[in-house]
């Protein structure tokens, strides 16, 4: 019944879940974990401030990805940033324009936007047409975003989620239009472009820290603590694997390669 070829992955998952549970319990008992600042996420407030000052909108996209496949958590990470941004923008009366690439993301993104306005106590300022479905065709999506930024004179372009070849097009064009640019993705091929062309970059795993970073909610920070414990376990496993392999034992490696 149990698929033994996946036993190590299963154990890993159980360990992760247990560490998550442990950290949550700690947080509920009152332990406050430290959380370092992440410049790319701090910059979101700078964008809102600039937009409010200049009376111009902000553009944001939760990426060129959907919710149906294994890229879903990346899109959700983008939506978490949107959730915070929507509330801040509603509070300071800044227009926030969202572009999505896959149709199933549209209703979710609209709900998130509306919730932001409600949380800021200004449900009347929510405008459905500010959350837009563009296209799931790569460059139709990218060129329409740049068109939007140009026409609406946006002061910032925030891109968090999954991105592919359009990353450099989006980042460099919005920089040339004078936007503050924040780019965040986990795609190893595209990160170099975000690093080169964006003012701020969220590298890989950093995009998952948004929710905790913005809310400073102890329980959400506890999730990051569990993530860090996972990384320590990873380093330990790596160390043990190297030592055992050097000692001539292939057992651990075999398990890892399952």
């Amino acid at each position: 019944m149990f698929d033994t070829s996946r036993s190590v992955a299963f154990v890993t998952l159980v360990v992760f879940a247990a560490s998550l549970y442990y950290c949550l319990i700690q947080a509920r008992r009152g332990t406050r974990f430290y959380l370092r600042r992440i410049p790319g996420l701090d910059a979101v407030d700078e964008c809102v401030g600039r937009a409010a000052e200049m009376g111009r909108p902000i553009h944001m996209t939760p990426g060129y990805g959907g919710l149906t496949g294994s890229g879903a958590p990346l899109t959700i990470a983008g939506l978490e940033v949107q959730s915070y941004l929507a509330r801040q923008c509603a509070t300071y009366d800044v227009r926030l324009i969202i572009s999505v690439a896959y149709p199933e993301v549209l209703p979710v993104s609209q709900e998130v936007q509306r919730a932001g306005h409600i949380a800021a106590g200004r449900p009347e300022t929510y405008r459905e047409e500010d959350v837009r479905f563009l296209s799931s065709s790569q460059f139709a999506f990218a060129s329409a975003i740049i068109g939007t930024i140009e026409r609406e004179k946006c002061v910032a372009n925030i891109m968090v989620g999954s991105f592919a070849a359009e990353a450099i097009f989006l980042a460099e064009n919005s920089a040339q239009l004078g936007c503050i640019t924040i780019g965040g993705c986990t795609n190893l091929y595209q990160l170099p472009f975000f690093i080169a062309a964006c003012d701020y970059t969220l590298i890989g795993e950093e995009i998952f820290a948004g929710s905790a970073h913005f809310s400073q909610d102890p329980e959400k920070i506890a999730v990051l603590r569990a993530q860090d414990m996972g990384k320590l376990a990873l380093l330990l496993t790596l160390f043990v694997a190297v030592v055992t392999a050097l000692a001539g034992s292939q057992e651990l490696l075999k398990l890892l390669r399952q």
Partner: protein
């Protein structure tokens, strides 16, 4: 020079799109809307064909009645336009997100975590493999958020960042192979349209 009207149309759209590099202009913005219209139209057509081939046809011709569930769930998405029942649209969304996140969870454990550890730990028979090991370890330390980085850890994290920049530089340098795309478009213009090269 080509006498084929199709080539001319393609060439004109190519030139219009390139003109954007000089300055965004009226005709380019028209092309941008044309592309959006056709691409999204194409997506709607494919969506229709998929729903017909994967959902409707097997339901009515092969009697796969379970397909009624996704069809109803799909229609529930549209309840968001009806205020009193708009929250029903969260049900299909929940199914989609539940599936997507579970797929991510399943997919990343083995290939992207465990097997990568094994690949890094063995074989340790060259300077390169030790460098890779160090690079991996330092990069991982960079990503730690909730432990205060002081002294050595802070130093390691900084080195991790520098190492990442070396890696990104290398990736950026190899990615400029994308200039091939410019070559491709120029070949189209110069060969297929103008006929000045073979």
């Amino acid at each position: 020079m080509s006498a084929d009207p199709a080539v001319w149309i393609a060439a004109i759209f190519t030139l219009v799109t390139f003109s954007f590099l000089w300055k965004s202009n009226y005709v380019y913005r028209l092309a941008e809307h044309v592309l959006l219209a056709i691409a999204t139209g194409h997506a709607v057509v494919l969506g229709y064909e998929n729903v017909r081939n994967m959902g409707w046809t097997p339901l009515v011709t092969k009697g796969q009645y379970s397909l009624i569930i996704p069809l109803i769930l799909g229609l529930l998405l549209y309840t968001r336009y009806v205020k009193s029942v708009s929250w029903w649209s969260r049900i299909p969304t929940a199914v989609i997100i539940g599936c997507g996140t579970a797929m991510a969870l399943r997919g990343s454990l083995q290939a992207e975590l465990l097997q990568q550890i094994a690949a890094t730990a063995f074989p340790m028979n060259s300077i390169e493999s030790w460098l890779v090991l160090l690079g991996v370890a330092f990069t991982v330390v960079y990503f730690i958020y909730t432990y205060k980085a002081a002294g050595t850890t802070g130093g390691i994290s900084r080195i991790g960042r520098i190492m990442m920049m070396i890696g990104f530089g290398a990736a950026f340098g190899s990615a400029t192979g994308r200039l091939a795309l410019v070559v491709g478009r120029f070949q189209f213009l110069m060969r297929d349209w103008l006929g000045i090269i073979k």
